[in-house]
Symmetry: C2
Subunit: 488 residues, 2 copies
């Protein structure tokens, strides 16, 4: 049988031929161009049922090469129906994150380089561009110079490293002796508000604190941690033999984007000699707006801080940034240099592998560099400012409507609300709002998600996608009202 | 001043215009095509000095947008000289990993989708394609059906999750109570050979074992863990009050690619009721060759196994796969579902966020799908087989040369060797070989790295790049001999 030109020749022992890469590369660029241009024509929430995608993919891998054009066709046939389109301007669920075009192009380049930036030597450009762009980003956020930065994949991993560094700092020889079976150390406790992200709990579980090692501090009516309660908890725990070692404050909690009172919390941490980690994964980027600088009040006193450019700065996931004043402690917690990784330059350069669990490190700073340069600080600021305006616009509409109510302040662009016709029990309200949310999501025109506040079912609407304009927020509100009228 | 068409309009509040993305997308595809075609013309090891890249990037971020063409030009001017080119066919350092063209194209698509596959609902196609492709990969490696898989970013993180699951399994209520300050639990110990990867130590440090919680088992003359020593260590530790809970065996250690005797080790683990984790990050993929199946002997008895398609299967980093028999235990160790992440389908679907610390999950299975389909199993097998042949070819040349010696067996394609003229002390030999390696690397034509074996300086040469052909291995050998003649 004659071998088709378009089928990989398994006797070549090579990669795809260059001209074929060029051809399919162009095709994919065209595909992505149209996709991003028309992101609105796909449903933001996939409408498939569990198993629908799986059953269209053969259960066995192909032993012979397939036409690459068939693979690309299957993206349309098999993958696209199963996609929840985070790019859709009416994806207003979770904390929507969207990748900008310069960020996508940077990722293309980064995957072509395919370096591992574990050591300076293994990719000097990756290490040094990370140093420079993280300093740029620090300046954009008006953070003090003593904050040293590192890129991890996700905020969960950034926060875990922060908590591990806090554990290292308490001087109980955790690096040498660990935690288990030691009668010479107390139980350790970390504090965060009831509204802290679940990643804090996961980080704490991972490093061996257990659920009991996490104490949740109650929040005020605006869902902010109550500093007095934190003080009380620390005092009480000390009396009972616990060792308080870390507090996590959140700037922009996941349910409501509330901002914990970092200035007061930082004073308590200083007095109690406890590590303060600030989780500003979603909302931290807004500190680059002069009018929003105050969201970082007190953050200068933090021992560590996480902000995710991949969430609301139009950088493709994953790119989470951890800043800390204590790079030496982070290094002590994680540095282990095997002989095969020793280089002659270890004293004069930064080897980022020394500051974390992951040895493999993609060239992620490239996308930070591309995006900041393409948009300029001003370009990014303008989009963020518009999102904040749109968020507050929507919150205003909720406030004006007699049968809707806002369930939390809207300090950023996330609105927590529910429908409330005024004559229903709490249980009935929960049912009504869950039903409303599901009906709206089933249209394939809008995707919103929920949380619970004081045990009440609350709908969240988030404006943070790069393609979201005023008309999309208007459409969302129209759709919500339409279905409310139908089901109330 | 007139606004140039090529500068981003900061009043647009939008992404890069579609036609501009298409234009620069084509340009970048052209750039990558030429780069991969000519990867040989760049030095495999960057020849810059520390600080060279940094000083060419402005210290402040741009407040105004820049021409995107300037950004791309700076890739050539600033980034390229600072690159260590993992794509170069004579990058024979560390465990070289190269991305194939279909993998790169998959990454382009994945970053355009920019989904977060934390929940089934947040991207059904991502979740279900991960399930199917990991089952494909399992079949390719002839692993039993009871192995359930998940994609993490790196082997370090995969192994940390395995060790955390092992900790969870010992039933000391670690999830509830943690490890610290408990007089009711013993000290915990993990075992691995002296040649296990440093990521095992990092994982152990992270979860709170401390360096003392890791016991290194000595190796035989072929750098394989000695099972009797493992038995003895476990017995001795039990007598002294330690709780042995995890053994890590390596299939393809980093220094020499030695293979620990997994069948014997697994028997000990079963008898001692200790979790067995197998680290086959680099070499595991070779189990897809019928003639290499035996490298996975005994692996069917492991509790968990890590293999990295991003290392030697031409998938762009990062894509590490963890297989385990105990997904329920992994889930118990890491599952925490916040209200805002609850969906109506949680009982009928797989939400991968439940099995790990990271909430954010890129659409990584796309690149596994693209690469397996484009090359077919046969295509991948043929390249692996060729690499193994070339590795052994090089090892043979070392063996034949009267003034070179092989320092370890070559079970895969990594050769450990040194020059030895026969009249030098060990210290002089170390100096000679370090000098030889540095001289060769400074040519910008070959990049090789070293390790220490029995305290001797040993050079490693690894054949695992997709562009590495017989002529490159020949050139490497010629270059090594040439410089040896010069400096001996």
């Amino acid at each position: 049988m004659e071998k088709s030109k378009n089928i990989y020749d398994t006797t070549s022992l090579s990669d795809m031929p260059p001209e074929e890469f060029r051809k399919y590369g162009y095709e994919l660029i065209d595909w992505v161009t149209e996709y991003l241009k028309d992101a609105e024509k796909y449903p933001p929430l996939s409408q498939v049922n569990p198993g629908d995608v799986k059953k269209r993919v053969p259960a066995q891998p192909p032993s012979k090469p397939e036409q690459f054009s068939d693979v690309l066709n299957d993206v349309d046939k098999i993958i696209m129906p199963g996609m929840t389109h985070w790019n859709h301007p009416n994806f207003m669920a979770y904390f929507n994150s969207t990748a900008s075009a310069p960020g996508i192009l940077a990722e293309l380049l980064s995957s072509a380089f395919n370096i591992n930036g574990m050591l300076w030597k293994s990719s000097p450009a990756s290490t040094e561009l990370e140093q420079v762009t993280l300093d740029w980003f620090r300046q954009m956020l008006s953070l003090p110079e003593y904050f040293w930065g590192i890129i991890y994949d996700t905020a969960s991993v950034s926060s875990m490293h922060a908590i591990a560094a806090a554990r290292e700092k308490i001087n109980i020889q955790v690096r040498e002796k660990g935690l288990a079976g030691r009668s010479d150390i107390p139980r350790l406790r970390l504090y965060c508000s009831e509204h802290a992200h679940s990643s804090i709990d996961k980080g704490a579980l991972t490093i061996g604190l257990g659920l009991e090692g996490i104490r949740k501090i109650s929040v005020d009516n605006n869902f902010k941690m109550i500093p007095e309660k934190l003080s009380e908890a620390i005092n009480e725990d000390r009396k009972n033999g616990w060792l308080p070692f870390c507090v996590v404050a959140t700037v922009g909690t996941t349910s409501t984007t509330s901002i914990d009172p970092v200035p007061e919390i930082s004073k308590i941490c200083q007095k109690e000699k406890v590590w303060l980690h600030v989780d500003a994964a979603h909302a931290g980027v807004t500190a680059m707006l002069p009018e929003m600088k105050n969201v970082f009040d007190g953050v200068e006193f933090a021992d560590s801080l996480v902000v995710n450019p991949h969430k609301w700065m139009f950088i493709p996931i994953d790119l989470s940034v951890l800043y800390t004043k204590h790079k030496d402690i982070l290094k002590k917690a994680f540095s282990l240099v095997a002989e095969y990784l020793k280089t002659g330059q270890d004293s004069e350069v930064e080897n980022y592998m020394d500051y974390g669990i992951q040895l493999g490190r993609r060239f992620r700073s490239l996308k930070l560099w591309f995006v900041i340069r393409y948009f300029g600080i001003e370009g990014i600021q303008n989009i963020l400012r518009e999102h904040l305006r749109l968020g507050k616009l929507f919150a205003g509409w909720i406030d004006e409507h007699p049968e809707f109510e806002r369930m939390a302040p809207t300090p950023f662009s996330t609105t927590c609300f529910r429908a409330n016709p005024g004559n229903l029990s709490e249980k009935e309200l929960d049912f009504l709002n869950e039903n409303l949310m599901n009906k709206v999501n089933e249209t394939g025109k809008l995707f919103i998600t929920h949380t619970k506040l004081n045990n009440k079912f609350v709908i969240r609407l988030v404006v943070s996608g790069i393609r979201t304009k005023e008309k999309h927020v208007k459409e969302a509100w129209k759709l919500i009202q339409k279905f409310y009228s139908k089901i109330k």
